[in-house]
């Protein structure tokens, strides 16, 4: 185990939604290269508290890349320089001694800052509420594999279902669009037989709810690069195709 020295953290401080906010610099003399990025912030917070200052507020929960709670813009990249991981899976060994690391909250109109690095990602929940569900019978649990699903279909659906709803796609998108999130959540259900009953209602509802909060897709592909689950922008194309179909089907020809 080795250490990194003289790490400067330039971090965003904002006391509340109405505050304009500012960067604040802190010097970390020594940190283990095995520390995760969130542990670095924990250690920094301990020193802040010990010296009577207010701790930096940041979102985190599972710290193993499955909950989608952590959300930091590190050196201009959502979830930092490591591909396919969340902030909690980023370790200090990816940095070098003497580095200055800039940490910012995610910025979008739909994600207002609550405090420091915490943002309110409720609009993603609104999109899920509008169509991220299927209709299933209550009662005893059905036997597994009652509905045959081809392996490639199950795989494609699972790839989309990997989305942990962290909002990195919105943060990374130059337009503040949530198309990767919405596309993933929609494709996950629209690909499976269980999702067919609501398929076109879902496509229309989710796209139009997304439209109320977020920007539009210009196919840069930044979201795919930022996604901690590396979800492909293929799901955006699938969403677009289903949205067009829904506009016909939801009118007169729902049964065809």
């Amino acid at each position: 185990m080795s250490h990194l020295n003289n790490i400067t953290i330039k971090i965003w401080r904002q006391s509340g939604p109405a505050d304009s906010g500012r960067f604040e610099s802190h010097l970390i003399d020594e940190i283990s290269d095995e520390a995760s990025f969130l542990e670095l912030l924990d250690i920094l917070n301990e020193t802040l508290i010990e010296s009577g200052l207010e701790a930096i507020a940041f979102d985190h929960d599972c710290r193993e890349g499955i909950c989608g709670t952590c959300s930091l813009m590190i050196d201009g990249r959502a979830h930092g320089p490591e591909r396919g991981t969340a902030t909690c899976q980023l370790h200090m060994r990816k940095f070098s001694s003497g580095d200055t690391i800039v940490v910012e909250p995610w910025r979008a109109k739909a994600f207002p800052i609550i405090k420091d690095l915490m943002v309110d990602r409720a609009p993603l929940d609104r999109i899920i509420e509008s169509g991220g569900f299927i209709t299933a019978e209550t009662g005893g649990a059905p036997d597994a594999n009652l509905i045959p699903i081809p392996k490639p279909v199950a795989d494609a659906s699972m790839d989309a279902a990997e989305c942990i709803g962290c909002g990195a796609c919105v943060a990374a998108c130059p337009n503040g669009a949530a198309n990767l999130f919405t596309g993933a959540k929609m494709s996950h259900l629209n690909l499976l037989p269980q999702g067919q009953a609501e398929r076109f209602k879902r496509a229309e509802a989710m796209v139009e709810t997304m439209d109320e909060y977020f920007g539009s897709c210009t196919n840069h592909g930044e979201c795919e690069a930022a996604c901690p689950k590396s979800i492909s922008i293929d799901v955006i194309a699938m969403m677009n195709a289903d949205y067009l179909k829904s506009k016909f089907k939801n009118r007169k020809s729902l049964s065809r």
Partner: protein, 281 residues
């Protein structure tokens, strides 16, 4: 926890545009639907479809226009008992399209109106999406972004687009209306082309504008597949190649005209063709 119980911390996001309850909930969609096209165009995804479809129209025009222009390299041919530049004959042929069915020049105007509509829709969709995108991030990142995938072409679409539109007006004023063309003659395509592109500053305008067009197409051709929902493992790997191919084809073809004119390959010779006066004699 209900958002309001957060008190000051929670910031509820108001539904400014007032679309009403989302259509997938048990509430159902309220009220009468707007006419299909307006309803579809009112969403960002719908506008992207319009961007893609009008873009395809534009690509079709640009490719056809470039191929038609290549006739300038075929020089003089025998035509109706006289000698004429092949590209002039081609220009006249465009007005003659579908002539026994439609009067002279009508089909050309139908195509022109289609193109004008496509260009206006493309600009309107691009403009309203840009406004939407600006509003989606009112406070920019305060530190430098480190883009991973976004390339020069995708990041400059609106600027290359503006260059192409400005060039379009110049191009029409130069070679269709003849405002800036010394000794402009309606229908004498080869003569007007030589007269315009022999001027070095004008040749530079054409070169710069066509490179901008190529950059625009490099992202546009790839991007339209995503916007149209055309995503299939069978052809996905060809999308980038197609975009590069079309962009290269257009740039190489169109940039060749000013360069070849300056090099003297395209050089109008009034004595090589049968003039109208001679024909009428």
């Amino acid at each position: 926890m209900h958002p309001s119980s957060f008190g000051q911390m929670a910031q509820t996001i108001s539904n400014e545009r007032g679309r009403g309850p989302v259509s997938g909930t048990a509430v159902g969609k309220n009220g009468k639907r707007k006419p299909f096209l307006i309803d579809f165009y009112s969403t960002a995804v719908g506008k992207k479809y319009v961007m893609a479809i009008t873009g395809i129209v534009g690509i079709g025009f640009v490719v056809g226009h470039m191929i038609g222009n290549l006739k300038a390299y075929l020089g003089v041919i025998n035509h109706q008992g006289g000698r004429a530049y092949d590209v002039d004959v081609y220009g006249e042929y465009l007005r003659e399209l579908l002539v026994p069915i439609l009067p002279h020049g009508y089909f050309l105007w139908i195509m022109r109106l289609g193109l004008i509509t496509a260009v206006l829709l493309h600009i309107h969709a691009a403009y309203s999406l840009t406004i939407l995108n600006r509003k989606a991030r009112p406070v920019k990142y305060q530190s430098a972004r480190d883009y991973q995938i976004a390339n020069f072409a995708s990041r400059t679409m609106r600027y290359t687009g503006i260059i192409v539109v400005l060039f379009l007006f110049w191009h029409l004023a130069d070679l269709t209306w003849g405002w800036f063309n010394p000794g402009f003659e309606q229908g004498a395509v080869y003569r007007n082309l030589d007269a315009s592109l022999s001027r070095v500053p004008v040749a530079l305008i054409y070169i710069v504008a066509n490179i901008a067009l190529g950059i625009h197409l490099f992202h546009g051709v790839w991007s339209l597949f995503q916007s149209m929902g055309w995503n299939n493992p069978r052809f996905n790997q060809w999308r980038r190649g197609l975009a590069t191919g079309i962009a290269t084809l257009i740039v190489v073809g169109n940039v060749s005209f000013p360069i070849m004119t300056l090099a003297g390959v395209i050089d109008y010779d009034a004595t090589a063709v049968t003039q109208l006066e001679e024909l009428s004699e």
